[in-house]
């Protein structure tokens, strides 16, 4: 009970401190980082307090301290799972899927015939449920990471394709006519005008695809996998009631997802520095 009281007091104090900081120093860089960090810490303290205060069974919800302890104890295991699922499955699938989507979008853009035919097919593939597709892909590509990469390809392909096709249409006639007056070839127009103009759209799709790739790779492991990988560990640790390990994997997935998204956002800023949305910052 004491811990619960402390947690509530901490929450109250931290909230008041945060609103005071936000009111006075909202334009300062350190405050912009400190306020959300303190909010996160407060949530963890509350969680710990509630679990201890109400004596919640670790089988239902483990305390953050138990999760941290389990995390520290099994870093080698978590790293192995991370390499298997994220580095091999998700990343390979992401690169293949996004690459294929970009190329397909350019091809679609060239041919009105494909515009009418291929987009609906892409739409159809995107609508396939992953739980139906994953077992089939496991059958085709085996149990290892290759089948997970295949699931990821299917998941990321469509959002990137749609965004890229829209991006290639982003230039208006005046701009393209101007290129023609320079007697620029299709290739020149593509590389110097249309692809750069498509970049903000493309990065939109790429950022959406980062989280989809992680979800796809993890969920696909539920349908057959070697004895490693984050999805494998989550599904088996639940069966063993090893909830701290499940939460450790969730923490790894959350960190990896944020990192992946952040890396794409950073890349976007480097590539589309000229775009008004980036210059405004």
């Amino acid at each position: 009970m004491k811990l619960l009281m402390f947690a509530l007091a901490f929450w109250l104090g931290a909230s008041l401190f945060n609103s005071w900081l936000a009111a006075r120093f909202s334009h300062r860089r350190w405050a912009q980082l400190f306020v959300p960090a303190l909010f996160g810490v407060t949530l963890l303290v509350l969680w710990e307090g509630v679990v201890a205060g109400f004596a919640i069974s670790p089988v239902i919800l483990p305390a953050p301290s138990a999760i941290v302890a389990r995390f520290a104890q099994s870093t080698a295991l978590l790293w192995g799972d991370f390499a298997q699922t994220i580095l091999k499955g998700a990343l390979a699938g992401y690169l293949l899927g996004c690459g294929a989507a970009i190329v397909t979008a350019i091809v679609i853009d060239r041919s009105p015939f494909l515009q009418r035919g291929l987009m609906p097919v892409g739409n159809f593939v995107a609508a396939l449920p992953i739980v139906g597709i994953a077992p089939i892909l496991v059958m085709w590509f085996g149990f290892d990471w290759q089948s997970k990469a295949a699931v990821v390809v299917l998941m990321v392909f469509f959002p990137v394709l749609v965004n890229m096709v829209a991006g290639l249409k982003a230039t208006d006639h005046l701009q393209r006519d101007l290129m023609k007056t320079y007697s620029a070839s299709y290739r020149d127009t593509l590389f110097k005008l249309r692809l750069p103009a498509a970049m903000p759209f493309l990065f939109n799709g790429l950022k959406i695809a980062t989280t989809l790739a992680l979800i796809g790779a993890i969920v696909a492991e539920f349908f057959g996998s070697p004895t490693r990988g984050m999805g494998f560990r989550i599904s088996t640790a639940v069966g063993q009631l090893d909830m701290p390990l499940v939460w450790s994997e969730i923490a790894v997935a959350a960190l990896a997802g944020s990192g992946f998204f952040g890396a794409m956002a950073l890349l976007e800023r480097l590539v589309t520095f000229w775009h008004p949305s980036q210059r405004a910052r």
Partner: protein
């Protein structure tokens, strides 16, 4: 359906006055003849006779009975002892109150063409294993054989097998886990002849662990009312089991009627009931402490990675069956 409606109407009529005690039973797996005893007891009115109103909740690949129990979603659950004891060590106080299954139906089914003749040939092969609490018997067997399962030299490669037999048919695995009453027949139905297969029954290998038993939360057993309810439940359930054993075809029909998913077929269920009857034969419902000790010994003898690290205490009680079966 009609029966259900009439039952519901009767239940509604009597709801005011009757004091039918409610019991929620969480099955380990989907509706199939593996749980025929409970469905038969329900359908034949054995539960009604005891004044019980039993809700049978089917499980499935994404339902862990131990977790349902931990969340307070059921009064009693069907689980395998290795999974229950492992959960017990994780702090979930599961207690065995009855053991309708005497023998284990688990086996490893291998393709003959892979050249596997005995357990010593497993080394270097890929084996399919179910996880989610069903991996313990396999892991302890490999440990008793001294075969590492972590992918190191001289060991076996373990695949997390889905709940189908594809890895064997696709030759992605040399052997897969099967139950005598279920997956083995899926392999046969898929076109493989029994001569193409080599099977290793856990029972024959001396590593059989207790399967379907009835488990409740230990703290609830302190309540005499709950205990009395469980006595009635076990008595009626065992009546259902013995009836199912004696009338396998009728039992399979009852299971089919209760299969809301509509996924089961008549031939499959009749065959399954026949195999299940072999496993329940020899058990009147009471847990044989010798079987329990054997299971614990196998689970403890897990070499470097035992399923449980110390002998559990109070993991079973004979009080319920002593009372129910006298």
């Amino acid at each position: 359906m009609k029966k259900f409606l009439i039952g519901a109407a009767l239940a509604a009529l009597t709801a005011g006055s009757a004091s039918a005690e409610e019991v929620k039973l969480q099955l380990k797996w989907v509706t199939q003849a593996q749980f025929a005893g409970y469905y038969v007891a329900q359908e034949k009115g054995f539960y009604d006779e005891e004044g019980l109103e039993v809700t049978i909740m089917p499980g499935g690949p994404d339902i862990s009975p131990t977790q349902v129990m931990a969340g307070g979603g059921a009064d009693v659950t069907v689980d395998w002892m290795p999974s229950a004891l492992a959960a017990r060590e994780k702090g979930l106080d599961l207690v065995n109150i009855a053991q309708p299954f005497k023998s284990s139906g688990m086996m490893l089914t291998c393709l003959k063409e892979t050249g596997i003749k005995g357990p010593e040939d497993f080394k270097g092969k890929t084996l399919g294993v179910w996880f989610g609490g069903n991996e313990y018997p396999f892991l302890s067997w490999m440990a008793t054989l001294g075969i590492p399962t972590d992918g190191s030299e001289g060991g076996v490669t373990v695949l997390k097998q889905g709940f189908n037999v594809d890895p064997l048919l696709q030759k992605q695995a040399a052997c897969i886990s099967t139950m005598t009453y279920n997956e083995y027949w899926q392999v046969i139905d898929a076109g493989l002849a029994p001569e193409d297969l080599v099977t290793f029954k856990y029972e024959d290998e001396g590593v059989a662990t207790l399967e379907d038993g009835l488990y409740v939360m230990g703290d609830k057993l302190a309540d005499p009312a709950f205990k009395a309810k469980m006595v009635k439940f076990v008595r009626a359930s065992m009546k259902g089991w013995k009836y199912a054993e004696a009338n396998p075809d009728e039992a399979a029909g009852i299971v089919l009627e209760n299969d809301e998913s509509g996924a089961q077929t008549e031939t499959h269920q009749k065959r399954m009931m026949g195999e299940i009857a072999k496993l329940t034969a020899g058990s009147q419902g009471a847990l044989d402490p010798a079987d329990y000790e054997r299971t614990v010994k196998i689970l403890l003898g897990g070499g470097s990675d035992p399923v449980i690290s110390k002998a559990p205490e109070g993991a079973y009680t004979l009080e319920i069956t002593d009372e129910a079966l006298k």
